[in-house]
Symmetry: C2
Subunit: 269 residues, 2 copies
C-alpha cells in the first residue's frame, strides 16, 4: 500500500484508527472456545464489526507466538481474511543483523503477507534497511515509546540530541532512499513530545499506541500529530477488542471503534 | 539451568561453544529435501555431530518464522530433541511493553521450553524484567553488537557514558533482584571493548556472536571475556552448520565444532 492509498482510506473513512489484535486466548468470550479456531473466530468477528471505522489492523505477534504453531496458523488466517484496502501491521518489534532482518522481512512481507512491521532501532542501519527494500511495504521504527521504561534509554542525550531524536534523524535518511516506506512509533502519552517529533519528521506516518478512550489524549494526538497526508495511525487494542466480554462482544467492539472514529473525524478534512 | 550447572558443562566439555541454528531451507543439503521435515532433520544431524563440543544451541527465530507455522513446528521438534544439559537460547531479540514481553516470555519459556532468550533494551526496564521472573530461565540483553550498524546508536554518549554502557549498568541492577538470570550479548569484533564490558559486568555470562574460524579473535575473546564461572557462550552459526554441503555435512559440522572447542579448551582450567 502506498502513502497515497493510505491517505485515501483515511479520507474515505474519516479515521486514523488502527485496531490492535492483541488476541489473548484467556480473555476471549467463553462461547468461542468451542470453535475449531477460537482466536481466528474472535478476530473475524472483531474485524467485521470494526471495519467501517478502521484503516489499519495490528496483530501483536507475542499473543500468537505464545500459542506455538497453532497461533501462527490463526494469525495467517486472520491476515488472509483482512481486506486489501486496510494496512496490516505486524507488531513484532524485530531488529537484528542484516541477513536475519532480511529473513524477518521475508517472514512478514512474503510468508504472511503483512503490509508493515514494527522494528526496533538498537542495532542500527542494517537492522532496519532490509525492511525497506520492497515497494509498498512499510517499517515503523520505534522512536519514543509510551511505556514507563521509555525513560531508561530513549532520553540518553549526546550533544543536546536525545537518543529518540537521533533515531528519527538517522533512520529518516535511510528511508528516503529506499523503495519501501518508513514510519515511526511515537507514544501518545506525551502529546507535547509528539509535536516535537512531528517537527523532526514532517512527512512520516506515525503509529501511535497508548491512546485510551479518553477524548483529551486523542484530541491532542490528532491536533499535534497529523500532517497534510493524514500522517497518523492511532492504535487502540484492549479498549476495542475487550470492550465487551459476552456474546455481544463484537457489537461492543464496533461501538468502541465508532466512538473513537467519531472523535477523529473532526480532524480530517 | 542455573549458572552453576552451566559452568559444570563448560568444565566438563572444556568448551564455551554455542552452535547457532540459523537453519536456512535454501542452504541445507539437497538430499535432505525429500525428508518429511528437512529443517528438523538437518538440525537433528547437526546436534548429534556437535553435541560433544557444544554447551549451548541458539536457533535464530527469523529462519523458522520465515517458513510460517511449519517453521515453528520444526523449531519445536528441535527443542524437544535437544538434551536438558545444554543451554537452549531463542535468538529472538524481543523487546516490548510489559504485558507483551510477558507473552513473549510465555512463548519462549513455556510453550517452546527454551532456557534463554535474547532481548533488546530500547524500550527499557519493563521490556526486560518479564523475562527475568522465572528461576533457571535466562535473558541475554543486547549491549554492544558486532554488526556495522552498532555504531549508529550504541555509542551515543551522555555525560561520558555510552548507550551500551548505560544498558549494562542499568539492566545489571534489574537482574540482581530477579529470580531469573541476566546475561549480555557482546560482539566479538571488538576484543578491547569486550575487556571493558567485562569490567562493567564482572559476573554476567556473555553471549558472543561474530566469532569466525579465525584463531586470533577466538583467543582474544576467551582471554578478555572469561571470568571465574566461565562466563562465556561463544557462538558460531554458519561456520559450523554450513561447514559442508554434501552428504557428509554433519561430519563437517562436527569437525568445525571440534576445531573451535579445541582452541577454547586451553582457556578452561
Amino acid at each position: 500500500m502506498t502513502p497515497t492509498e493510505l491517505f485515501a482510506q483515511i479520507q474515505q473513512k474519516r479515521s486514523f484508527l488502527c485496531v490492535g489484535l492483541d488476541t489473548d486466548i484467556d480473555r476471549i468470550p467463553q462461547h468461542l472456545l468451542t470453535e475449531e479456531d477460537p482466536v481466528f473466530e474472535f478476530n473475524r468477528q472483531i474485524i467485521d464489526a470494526t471495519l467501517p471505522y478502521a484503516i489499519a489492523y495490528k496483530p501483536n505477534l507475542a499473543f500468537y507466538e505464545a500459542l506455538g504453531a497453532k497461533g501462527l496458523t490463526s494469525l495467517q488466517r486472520t491476515l488472509d481474511y483482512l481486506p486489501a484496502d486496510v494496512l496490516t501491521i505486524a507488531d513484532a518489534k524485530r531488529g537484528d543483523i542484516g541477513n536475519t532482518a532480511e529473513r524477518y522481512a521475508k517472514a512478514f512481507f512474503e510468508t504472511m503477507n503483512f503490509d508493515a512491521v514494527t522494528v526496533t532501532p538498537y542495532m542500527g542501519r542494517d537492522a532496519i534497511t532490509p525492511f525497506l527494500s520492497r515497494p509498498g511495504k512499510w517499517a515503523f521504527a520505534l522512536a519514543l515509546t509510551s511505556n514507563a521504561g521509555a525513560a531508561d534509554f530513549q532520553y540518553h542525550t549526546d550533544g543536546g540530541e536525545k537518543l529518540y531524536e537521533r533515531v528519527l534523524k538517522r533512520s529518516a535518511a535511510w528511508g528516503e532512499s529506499a523503495p519501501g516506506e518508513l514510519g515511526f512509533v511515537v507514544g501518545a502519552t506525551r502529546a507535547e513530545a509528539l509535536q516535537e517529533v512531528r517537527a523532526l519528521a514532517p512527512k512520516a506516518f506515525f503509529l501511535v499506541p497508548g491512546v485510551g478512550a479518553q477524548g483529551g489524549d486523542l484530541e491532542a494526538v490528532c491536533r499535534m500529530g497529523k500532517n497534510e497526508m493524514g500522517g497518523l495511525l492511532i492504535n487502540s487494542s484492549r479498549g476495542i477488542i475487550y470492550a465487551g466480554s459476552g456474546k455481544d462482544f463484537a457489537k461492543a467492539a464496533g461501538d468502541a471503534a465508532f466512538a473513537l472514529q467519531s472523535q477523529m473525524a473532526g480532524y480530517i478534512g
